[in-house]
Structures are given as structure tokens and as C-alpha cells.
């Protein structure tokens, strides 16, 4: 799963300046940024960018768009810290600094001919969307495709129109929320409660998971118990990062750098983490 991307050697830490083409409000605290894509910028699902706002700092953001489908770059960003707050104050026509694409990608060639299960929680849908769109382009290469997507409440469901389109295109979609409000017609409860309802063959299926840390852990454990091979349970991790290229040490855990060895890991690798965490 290693992607020894040796590009951009000279200006390892120098961001490229790109223009914001459009900003779309998704929820009260999530916005979708559409950026101009620089020349010779190729990325794969699962990779991320280091996004700079001058004076505020730099944060890692996973790419939510799909290279093969769009000419721009889409980033789905929730306002949580100083940098993302600064980001949210920008509008179309403003400039950002980006470095990347960084990190490895979701392995999906191994899933050819097999079933695929996507499990997303909250903003965790963003990195998966990149892969889901790519997979749904070539659905014929895979078996059954299912998506379970949990949100806190109906107003925080992201990409709902797109999700409904995926459903129309034949993906099994399960939407669930923690807190139900009218007129929500889908289910409630944690995503884990819906895993066993999937009519897929867990023994050979590949699953891609992204969401809050605890959700990831719980889903991985459950899928493993249901007989899914650990190598097929794949997630992408979030971590504090300053450099994105394996130098600053912030994302380092137990011999692995989330930025260069990940952010995409399978359950076998994840289980090795946590040696220093009692």
C-alpha cells in the first residue's frame, strides 16, 4: 500500500498558490471548496492536501473529488479549529496554498469482482466520496456495493443529493442518524447497528471506513468478528500534521507515520497501533 511518491522534491514545504473557484455551504459548519487544479497535478482517492491559509497555518484535508471525473479539486471542510475557521471566511476568487497530493490511496483493484461496503460517519463521507464516485463509474467491475452513512442529525447529512443518485444507480444506501427530526424517513442509531443487515458476503467483501475514531474502531472490530479478513477492512485516519511528509513527527504512532505510511491503513496495521497507548 506504500506509495513512494518522490515528486516535488525541491519545494517540499512550499505551497502552490491556487484560486478558489467556488464555495458551497453544505451545513451550518461544513463548506465545500472547489479549487483550481494545477497543471500536472494527479491524485487518487484517499490522498490528502496540506492546505494553507496565510497567517493562520496549514492543515491536512482529504480530497473529496475524483480525479477522473472532475477538472477541479473539491475539499469538504468542517469548521473546527483556527485554520478551518480562517478557511471558512474565504470566498470564490480568494487564494489558498496547497501542497500535495500526499499520502497513499485506497487500494481498490483487489476488490474487483468482490462486494464492497462503505461505512461513513459524519464528515468521514468526504474521503470516501472520492472512491465511491470512482467505483460507481465502473460498477460492472465489482459485486454488490453498499454504503452505510451515519450522521448526527438529518440537517448534517452531507452530499444527500449525490447519495440518492448513487442509490438510483444501484448502490445499497443505508442512512442513519443519531437524533431523528421530522421529516426524516430513514433509520436511526449507530452505523454499527446496520452492519449485519447488509446482504453482502462478508468473507470476501472489501470495506472502506471513515468517520470518528471510535466509530472506525467499532466498525472494524465488528466486521472482523463477522468474518471479514483484516486486510480487507480499510480505513483512513485523521491525525495532527504539520508537514505531511514524514518529518515533523506529529502524526507518528508506533513506528508509522500517518502522512507517509497512510492515511489509508488496513485493520492488520491498525491493530499494531496502540502499543504505546495503554
Amino acid at each position: 500500500m506504500k506509495n513512494k511518491n518522490r515528486q516535488n522534491r525541491k519545494g517540499l514545504y512550499l505551497p502552490a498558490k491556487v484560486e478558489i473557484l467556488d464555495v458551497v455551504d453544505m451545513t451550518s459548519d461544513v463548506k465545500l471548496f472547489k479549487l483550481e487544479r494545477p497543471k500536472s497535478f494527479y491524485y487518487s482517492p484517499g490522498q490528502f492536501l496540506m492546505v494553507s491559509v496565510w497567517g493562520a497555518g496549514e492543515v491536512p484535508i482529504s480530497i473529496t473529488s475524483t480525479h477522473e471525473i472532475r477538472k477541479d479539486i473539491e475539499l469538504c471542510i468542517r469548521k473546527v479549529g483556527a485554520v478551518t475557521s480562517a478557511l471558512h471566511s474565504l470566498t470564490a476568487g480568494d487564494y489558498l496554498g496547497i501542497r500535495g497530493p500526499l499520502g497513499n490511496r485506497f487500494p481498490f483493484e483487489e476488490a474487483f469482482g468482490k462486494d464492497i461496503l462503505f461505512v461513513a460517519g459524519g464528515i468521514g463521507i468526504a474521503p470516501l466520496r472520492s472512491l465511491i464516485n470512482l467505483v460507481s463509474e465502473q460498477k460492472e467491475k465489482f459485486g454488490k456495493i453498499a454504503l452505510i452513512y451515519g450522521s448526527r442529525n438529518p440537517s448534517e447529512v452531507l452530499f444527500l443529493d449525490e447519495i440518492l443518485r448513487w442509490r438510483d444507480e444501484g448502490i445499497d444506501v443505508y442512512l442513519t442518524v443519531d437524533v431523528k427530526t421530522d421529516p426524516w424517513k430513514y433509520s436511526t442509531g449507530l452505523v454499527t447497528e446496520h452492519l449485519s443487515k447488509q446482504r453482502i458476503s462478508f468473507k470476501t467483501c472489501h470495506s472502506y471506513i471513515c468517520g470518528p475514531h471510535v466509530m472506525i474502531k467499532a466498525v472494524m472490530r465488528d466486521l472482523s468478528l463477522m468474518g471479514m479478513p483484516a486486510e480487507n477492512i480499510i480505513t483512513t485516519l485523521e491525525a495532527h500534521m504539520k508537514c505531511g511528509v514524514g518529518k515533523c513527527g506529529h502524526c507518528y504512532t508506533d513506528g508509522k507515520y500517518v502522512c507517509t505510511d497512510g492515511p489509508v491503513f488496513n485493520y492488520t496495521e491498525i491493530k499494531q497501533f496502540g502499543m504505546s497507548n495503554p
Binding site: S28, D29, G121, R152, P212, V214, K217, A218, R221
Partner: protein, 567 residues
Amino acid sequence: MAGLASAFGSGAMTNSIEEIDNARVLFVIGSNTTEQHPMIAMHMLDAVDKGATLIVADPRKTQVAGFAQIHLRQKSGTDVALLNGIMNVIIDEGLVDISFVKRRTENFDDLEKIVRAYSPDVAEKITGVPADEIKRVARIYATEKRSMLFYSMGITQHITGVDNVRSCANLVMLTAHIGQPMTGLNPLRGQNNVQGACDMGALPDVYSGYQRVSDPKARRKIGNAWGRKLPARPGLTMIDMFDAALSGGLKAMYIMGENPVISDPDSSHLIEAIKKLDFLVVQDIFMSDTAELADVVLPAVTFAEKDGTFTNTERRVQKIRRVIRPMFGAMPDWKIISEVSKKMGYDMGYRAPHEIMEEVALLTPSYGGILHHRLDNFGIQWPCPDTSHAGTPFLHRKKFAKGLGTFNPVDFAPPAENTDAEYPFILTTGRMYFRYHTGTMCRRTSTLEREEPECFIEINPKDAGRLGVRTRNRVRVLSRRGEIVVNVLVTDRTPEGIVFIPFHFRDAAVNLITNPAVDPIAKIPEFKVCAVRIVPLIPKPGERQKSLYNRKEDIKILLELYEEPKV
């Protein structure tokens, strides 16, 4: 410092930090040493590793208390009763150093009379510390020859601050743990140059070296040197100044390098006072909350842009050196004062800080031999009367500065504010390791800023249970003066009935609610005790709750749910 001065005749750490390494007993009261004076705690830990006994008296379970063999968790504001209880045992069991008391001290009989009333059982009732523990501490402290006593803001920031310090001094004299190496009464000063500011006479009643303004001889000597007739009446303390400003008696202020709006108690009252001034000058390195209110703000420089000296808590006068040119258009503070003074018709005529130090040496007996060129090898500890003197590692060797040491017996008096049904918790305030004072410097330091970005209130798990709050919940903390909103941190560091808030944060400035009642002599506000009520804040519908999965308790439950079966 007033308490120490009345007992010994001078107020400073009597002994040196280096001596701690070889002490046998370290009695730390009201000091979170590992966090506030880490390098002193390092010496304490070294001593403990060599077999010394560490006794910590602090309501909170601080890190240094974790290293202690004995941790006394007295109720906030009952230090006098605790110390009197200890002295009661010492007198009762005949552990008093009678020869020292006879030769070097006065007023022992009065002490004995008062302390008699504080049997360990009585002290237990007041302080909550078991009588047996009090006895044990008394015996250990008194019988060991090399016993050092340390205290800090936990002792002084009470309305009984001076009483507390006097009690400490009484204890030290009773057992003759003073005037020798590895003993003494050692106040740990909070800021880098508090000691120096006091030594230099930045106080309303004394000149440099604690020469009283009411003393005609000192006044004449210094007045002659300066060519001016000096006022005899002692001036106003800072808190009095703000009161005077509010009542209109004080028209103008010149504030150098301080941010009283954040650091002082009852800050709303203070802001009102400042707004009443006709003219306010603030001199600082960053725009501060106080500077925002000024008419004129002057850019001063940091420690790295000027020459000068600092005096640390063990009286060590050390040189700081100019490393870089003053940044931007800033000017060293000493130069600004000289310039203002010149404009007002008094030419001070200094060209460099070492020339000022020469004048200090000339006019200040205890700094008589302290000149810049002598300070190269880690400075000199005052008193240093002349240039042939190497400095004084510990004080009061043969006699106290004032001659005989005076016992100042004190009775226990409860804190100014008591808890009641409406305000059931005692709030105590303090510092945090990663923060410094009002944050002017550390907020511009990325590593420090990152650690604790938000203010919090420490609540004991049992109290938290009763209130129905958990870590990261938000609560309103109300006192009789105001209220702030902070995050909860549930921890057993803080005992039941007591809550703790650090004072560094401007967004949740705890000094909006603290009690401005001051010690009648030292004028130190009672930061350590104030009665508060805590009201959990329930998020309004639609307002974003913290993520479900971020809450520790939920995580625990979830993890238990998904625990892998053991094979």
C-alpha cells in the same frame, strides 16, 4: 513580605536553592512547586532521592504532592490553624530548641499562650487534617536538623496572608531551623523579578533596600543624592490607587509592564477605575487589555534587547544581556523613564544600566557591593555590603536583620467569604504550568499556547456527580460579584467542596469573580478563597453538542461494547 519583615526584619528567601539538595526535611506549604518553580522542584526531588522527607500541605493533589511522603490536605484558608497545631505538638512534646529561643528570639510566652489552644484535635476540626498526621509532621520537622520550609502564593493570597507567613516564621524560629545552611523560611516568588522590584523600592513605603520613607535619615540621604526633597508620607498601594482613582483622588497613572486588568481581583471594578483617570500611560511589549484603555502606549523591549539585572527568589542578582537590537521602534524601559524625566525638567543623565546600578549600590546598603562587572559568574546573593564581599547564601546567621527574632502569635481567622447554601463551593485560583501570568508573553509562544487553549474548572468527581456534569461540559461559575463560563475538568486533584480555576485566561477571566478583600497589612488580595455556585449549562436546542464520540465516557462505553472476545 510584611509578615517576614515583622519577624526577622527582612523579607526574602532566607536560604539558597542549591542547599535543598542536601536537606533532610522539606516542608512545602501552599506551593505547587513542580508547576510553578520546576527547577526548585528538581532540587527537591534530588533531595527526596537522597532520602529526605518531603511534606506537602496543599488542598490540591499537585504533582509535587505525588512525590511527598506526607500530603496534608487542609481546607483552604486554614493554614494558621494547621501551623498552630504543629507548633502545639512541638511545644507539648518538648521539641522546642530552647537555647535558640532564649538567645535569638523574643515574645515566646505570647506564642505559647495562643498556640496552647490548638491541640491536634482542635486543629483537626478546623483543618480537616487528622490529628495523628499533624503530630507526625511536627515530630519529623522539629527533630531533623536540616529542615527547610517553603511557601508560595497558597500562603500569601489570603486575607490572613500576613498571619499565615507569621505562623510559618514562628514555626521556623521555634525549632531553630534558620540561620544555618539547609534550613530557613523560603518564600518562592512568582515572577522573575518580584524580589528585585521590592528590593529596589517599587513599594509605597520603602526606598531601595527596604529603607523606610518614614525614616528621616534615609529620606535625607537619598533626597540629597537626588537633589530633591522627598515626600515623607507613605504612598498608596496598587489596590488603594485604583480605589483612589474611582473616588477621583487619583488623576493619572503610569503603568510599566503590568496588566492589572487581568491579574487583579474584581477586574470590572478596576476597569471602571481606570476609565475615570484623566491620563493613563502604559508601557509594554505587546498591546495588553490594560494598554487598550490607555491614552498613551509606549513600546518597551524584552529581556533580550537590554542590559540589566534580575534578582531571583533566592536573592541572587544576575545579569541579563542585550542580545539583539531593540525590535522595531521600541526603547528600553530605563531609557524611556529617563527621557520622560528629562522632559519634566529632571535630567537623570544615565547612559547605560550599569551606571544606574552604581547609584543603587551607593544608596542601598544590601546592594552595596553589587556592580555589573562583579556579576559574571552566576551573580551575587544580597546582602553584599561592599565590593570585597562575595554575597550571602543564607541569612540571619548570627542575628536577625532586626536583632532578635520576634514571635508574632496569631489566632485562626476564617476566610473573608464563607460558603453557604447559595454559594456552596470554595473557589481557589492559581497558575498552570504552560501559562504565565496574564499571557502577554506565552500567548505568543506556539508550544505554550497550544497546550491549554481554554480555561477550565477542576471539580472533584463526587461533586461533579452531584452536579451532573462531566469533563468538557460547560458550566457557569457565579460568585457574589460576577460570573464566568468555563469547561469542566473532572479530577481528584481537587478535593470535594473545592474547585480550581487558573487565572491566565482573558476570555474567562476568573478575576471577574474573585474576592477583592485584602490582607490588612500586606494588601494581598484573597485569590485563594471565594464562595461560588456552579450551574451546568444545557446547550440550547440546535446548538452544536460536542461530538458524541469525543466524550470520554461514551468512548469507554462503546469500547466495552465492542471489546474483542478473548480467544
